[in-house]
């Protein structure tokens, strides 16, 4: 693999052990994919996770003196102050969250603690070469904006943030971005929840190929956020196209770059219904409601506020969002409405964190299959239902 003088210096250790390790890892990834060279990135997002491997790796880089050349935005861990108002946080978990914060701060990361950087704070432009991790972010920036990133891991994106480069392969090349499977969407895509199910189900039909969805009209930003997050959870789809909508697929010719689809599949209401039945827990009594995987937008929070306004929730309801959006909910009165009903809005927090221990062993309701998938490790069960239906269920205590 060809390296510039500057890249070779990083690899030789001229900039310290941390930068050297980052370059070593990128070079190994480059070799694994037969990349001819590195290319500069102008934007990065790191899926900080506050988990063991995350902290281990970030501290290893800090101890090696590494500093980010292209400062990344970062994913949520949990907001210690806000959770200390809600529950008791174990000493050990408090230590971890502080250490993770200190490590990333030393590396020079921008401490956004938000998994939807593509809606605020880190928005790429068409064709921009970037390094983004986070499963809802990678498909969004690739597909909706037409920026170019591979399906980075938290650590590979951090290595790119430190070195300012990424190996040149995969989705960075135009020819690897062509659609492969034509997906006829015959299901009624009449709410954002349908996109959750479409995203989670589609990988079963398309495997590793790049899908071109036909039959989707004017999806909301929330629908696109859901679609990408679930495509990349149910499968590994980090790039998709929507015919006549996303920038690389305005025509059939563009979407498939002049080639024929390798296959065509159809997805119906029945497929989405069956998928939901397979992954959702049985209906019945619920103990809590949890939203924000990915972080809710201000529009989604206003929907919840309208539904609970002047009412009392039968079970606790938690909303995870960015600090910017949470601050908006205060200014716009949603925070007061939701709190008066018995709900709470937390910032900088992910569902896959130890701060939710007080919910382990209980059954919740959510609108996100991704939320339900990763919490298998944490002994939380979920009914998965559309946002409005699930809020109504939280008012009643059952679904």
């Amino acid at each position: 693999m060809y390296l510039t003088d500057e890249e070779q210096k990083m690899l030789n250790g001229d900039y310290g052990e941390g930068t050297q390790l980052a370059m070593k890892i990128l070079a190994a990834i480059g070799e694994a994919y037969d990349a001819p060279k590195m290319v500069p990135v102008s934007r990065t997002h790191v899926a900080l996770s506050n988990q063991e491997a995350d902290l281990w790796f970030a501290e290893k880089l800090v101890n090696g003196g590494a500093k980010c050349r292209v400062r990344p935005t970062v994913n949520p861990s949990f907001n210690l102050e806000q959770f200390q108002q809600i529950t008791t946080i174990d000493k050990e978990d408090e230590e971890t969250v502080k250490r993770t914060h200190a490590a990333y701060n030393k590396l020079g990361a921008i401490m956004t603690y938000n998994c939807t950087p593509y809606l605020e704070k880190n928005i790429p432009y068409f064709g921009e070469v970037i390094s983004f991790s986070e499963s809802s972010a990678t498909p969004f920036v690739n597909s909706v904006y037409g920026a170019r990133t591979n399906r980075e891991s938290a650590q590979s994106a951090l290595c790119s943030a430190i070195t300012g480069v990424t190996p040149y392969y995969g989705f960075l090349l135009k020819e690897n971005r062509a659609g492969q499977v034509l997906v006829h969407v015959e299901a009624d895509m009449d709410d954002d929840f349908a996109y959750q199910m479409l995203g989670y189900f589609a990988p079963q039909k398309i495997g590793f190929d790049i899908p071109v969805f036909e039959g989707i009209h004017n999806p909301s930003k929330e629908a696109l956020m859901n679609l990408g997050a679930q495509l990349n959870t149910g499968g590994n789809v980090a790039l998709y196209h929507i015919l006549g909508f996303t920038p690389e697929a305005l025509t059939m010719e563009d979407a498939f770059q002049g080639k024929k689809p390798t296959k065509e599949v159809t997805i119906t209401n029945a497929d989405l219904k069956a998928m939901r039945e397979e992954i959702s827990d049985a209906s019945g009594k619920i103990d809590f409601a949890l939203y924000g995987c990915p972080h809710l937008t201000i529009d989604q929070i206003s929907t919840i506020a309208d539904l609970v306004n002047g009412k009392k929730l039968a079970v606790p309801l938690f909303i995870m969002t960015s600090s910017l959006t949470r601050s908006l909910t205060k200014k716009m009165g949603y925070m007061d409405i939701i709190r008066a009903a018995g709900g709470e809005i937390v910032e900088d927090t992910c569902m896959d964190q130890p701060c939710w221990k007080f919910l382990y062993g209980k059954k919740g309701i959510t609108d996100s299959p991704k939320c339900a998938y990763y919490t298998k490790r944490r002994d939380m069960q979920f009914v998965i239902a559309p946002l409005k239906d699930s809020v109504l269920a939280a008012l009643k205590g059952e679904y």
């Binding site: 988990q51 063991e52 499963s135 891991s153 938290a154 959870t233 590994n236």
Partner: protein, 134 residues
């Protein structure tokens, strides 16, 4: 002469172990680090341990965080697979293996999949892209 199969290095190392085939993709986060057992109910290896095996699977599943964290936890408890053979290696999976010094290869000779059953003892030399039946 022992049988040999060519493959392509993703992450280096030379290891021995029994082959364990999975037709389903793997999310390392949904493997119990205490036992090495797969905890995903729908998975073909549900309740089987992947510890010390040469694990053969089609692709990785899961977000940009959970593969590395899952592999890391398995390594800390020594319940990690000895080596990994994949068909489609996405960047998340490949980067996680590289960071954790876990031997991994792809592009295995296609005859490998027809020839060898579960439990075959092999040596995987990822650095040289070679698998040898012992």
């Amino acid at each position: 002469m022992s049988k040999e199969y060519k493959c392509h290095k993703i992450s280096g190392g030379k290891v021995k172990g029994e082959l364990l085939f999975s037709k389903d993709g793997l999310c390392f986060y949904l493997i119990d680090p205490k036992t090495g057992e797969v905890i995903e109910k729908e998975h073909c290896l549900y309740k089987q341990s992947i510890a010390n095996k040469i694990l053969v699977f089609p692709y990785g599943k899961g977000s940009s965080v959970v593969q590395a964290d899952g592999m890391y936890q398995l390594k800390m408890t020594s319940m990690n697979p000895a080596g990994m053979i994949v068909i489609n290696a996405d960047t998340t999976l490949a980067a996680s293996a590289i960071i954790l010094d876990a031997p991994m290869v792809n592009k295995m000779d296609s005859t490998f999949y027809d020839d060898l059953p579960n439990g075959t003892m092999v040596e995987l030399d990822a650095d040289n892209g070679l698998l040898t039946v012992l």
